[in-house]
Subunit: 413 residues, 2 copies
């Protein structure tokens, strides 16, 4: 894309009320727009990053056998009363609204009730199980405080996967597979090394649930890490679990972290409350065993920004960057540089390489500062000087390394 | 996809309270799930259709120069008070909700206010214009009645494009281009012939707005068609406009129709109310001239079902069908048919042809009835009989034509 065509521009400052580093950088670089506290719109660059993250998630969840659906934000009070979660005292993040006839509706913060009710139409026999269904859908949470930018917003995209199994054994097999998929997702998104499988409070059906916690000073959670096993324990269960659950190592390192994903054994809590049952091989009625598995792509995006940015701006992993290459031309008076850069841009586009081309009539220093702020992995400069040498200047955003390369070397990047 | 893996199944009946043909067929075939009146979730097959429609729309709007963004459903009362549209008396489809501190919020039914405010961050000079931004985003409308299935729902996906131009002349050029893009979209979606550019009430800035109305008995609107010019006049302006606006033909045909798209000249209504201005070449402050352009992919999907289905079920145009081929095996006892069908399925998948493979252990009659209901364009049957002939049986869902073809002919379909 030509940067002269992109409607967003970088800004010197984020809104004064913005306190989160992730939102501040993303607003300044033109990725997001703040509508209100905790409510952010995604601009063209931001939506590109979100879509890349969504694609990584979809690939892994589809490979797990997940079938994608799209449920609604508007939720039926009746279902939530059956599970005892309609009250604001039980679920304290409800946004509620009303039909014209005064019927109360909820705005979904999660979808266990809806998908359990939905599955009643399709699950009858053991032959219909297991089923895995997921969505990438907008959630609403009436957060009292919203000071973590897109890491905790009042409206956000979420990938929520639900598993429906015949029994605990079948559930466990999938649950373990989901752990591996989640690791793959965070690895692909570039924060695998600093993301820990974290043991957290379970429920009626399991001793633990599992979170994926990424270490960052901006995190709202505290975890205790076993470096040997690359796992952690959430502070909430620290009293019961003082050692590493894998190797019993007691020397755990305390860190601030943000929960980028979680997986939870729901057992038969929802299937019993909403009567999602099947007939087994012996003709007996059994309740379906459920699990839920969440990742917030926006929170993941915010976490990447918090974790990997430097004093100059954002540093995207290539897998989620809005573009792979930031091509910058420093025009000369005769137009030779612009002519060559135009051609190079077109060649890259034709080769299917994602490139943001800074063709603006702006001074070099500003272009470089913008490029560092926006954080595309490879910066390629074309100028009088590089043309005289017959080379391109390539800077790696992450390492800062600058090298001279042939045009052809760029295609292989 | 293997149909044995698809979690949805066809149903004999839709819920008793469902009165719309589109929703009834889509529920019976497993495309959508009714959460409440006017609120529908999209199941795997339904989401595939929605994504196809969204792709058609994106291609056309991107070609127009549209930049995709994603705004939020939660909306700021302050902005809507500035344009005088916060009151339920002015905008009668509001869903409203509240933050914990009792601040009122709206749930977006449209986004003129938000995008106008957003653009203030990026539009300063004539050099920043024109800009075209759009989103595919979930809207909420508190409809008093919701009896048209997914053609009028309380929560629905919408493509809303907004144009920002320097003056009326620049606006008009884009407005005319948008008309062509819209025609392309409805042509590609398979309802071009029965969809009419329809003159409707304008506003302060234009005599007319333009709708795209698709003729169907399920339509809530009445239009008067000039068959010669393939345009129509909405009943709402019939008193002022008794003839075809193109050829002045007075012999217009009255039809029921559904509005599948609309385009509207907003003039400077929103830019003045929210102070979206730019400095022109002479250094003078001017208000930005805006337009808005909407299409509801769900409504379009519902309209296709209403318009093209027959007594046996849905008939999808190939461009929006969830799969291109419905491969049906009628197993023999020795497993020869299943073996061949498995191989054929894999070959089609490897060739990138979208195929739903009915590998279920179900009798032939049920498979055929399901296939007609689901409405995939090409039905391919493999049975003892076709194998003995060394051919495949191909049925065109739309025409009903059955022919015998070689396997290789299928690849070219």
């Amino acid at each position: 894309m030509r940067q002269s065509q992109l409607f967003t521009k970088t800004r010197k400052d984020a809104p004064k009320d913005e306190v989160a580093k992730n939102a501040e950088l993303l607003i300044r670089a033109g990725y997001i727009h703040k509508e209100m506290a905790g409510v952010y719109s995604y601009l063209p660059l931001g939506l590109r990053v979100m879509n890349k993250i969504a694609t990584i998630i979809r690939q892994e969840i589809n490979a797990l056998g997940g079938q994608e659906i799209l449920m609604t934000a508007l939720q039926d009070k009746n279902l939530w009363e059956k599970t005892g979660r309609w009250s604001d005292k039980v679920l304290d993040v409800w946004f509620k609204t009303k039909l014209k006839n005064d019927t109360e509706l909820g705005l979904g913060s999660t979808h266990e009730e809806e998908i359990t009710a939905l599955m009643r139409d399709y699950v009858r026999s053991f032959r219909d199980l297991p089923v895995y269904a997921y969505q990438l859908q907008t959630k609403f949470r009436n957060e009292a405080r919203a000071k973590s930018g897109i890491m905790r917003s009042r409206e956000f995209l979420m990938k929520d996967l639900y598993s429906f199994s015949k029994d605990d054994a079948e559930h466990s097999v999938f649950y373990e597979k989901a752990k591996i998929s989640y690791k793959n997702i965070f690895n692909k998104a570039g924060i695998g090394e600093r993301t820990y499988l974290t043991y957290a409070a379970g429920g009626s059906f399991s001793k633990y649930s599992h979170e994926f916690q990424t270490v960052t000073p901006a995190g709202e959670d505290t975890i205790y890490i076993c470096e040997k096993c690359h796992v952690a324990v959430n502070e909430e269960i620290r009293d019961e679990q003082k050692t590493c659950p894998h190797c019993e190592n007691a020397d755990l390192k305390k860190e601030k972290a943000v929960e980028v994903g979680n997986i939870f054994n729901l057992g038969t809590k929802f299937s019993e409350a909403l009567d999602l049952a099947y007939v087994d091989e012996k003709g007996e009625k059994k309740f379906v065993v459920m699990g839920c598995y969440g990742i917030g792509p926006g929170r993941l995006m915010g976490t990447i920004v918090e974790s990997l940015s430097d004093e100059k701006g954002i540093v995207w992993p290539e897998s989620v960057a809005p573009f792979k290459i930031h091509l910058i031309s420093i025009p000369d008076k005769e137009g030779k540089v612009a002519h060559y850069a135009d051609k190079l841009y077109q060649t890259l586009v034709d080769k299917g390489i994602e490139v943001l081309y800074d063709d603006r009539d702006t001074r070099a220093g500003e272009k470089f500062a913008d490029s560092d702020l926006i954080g595309i992995p490879y910066r390629v400069v074309v100028s009088d000087k590089t043309m005289a040498e017959g080379k391109l200047e390539l800077k790696d955003r992450k390492s800062g390394t600058v090298e001279k390369i042939e045009e052809k070397e760029l295609y292989g990047k």
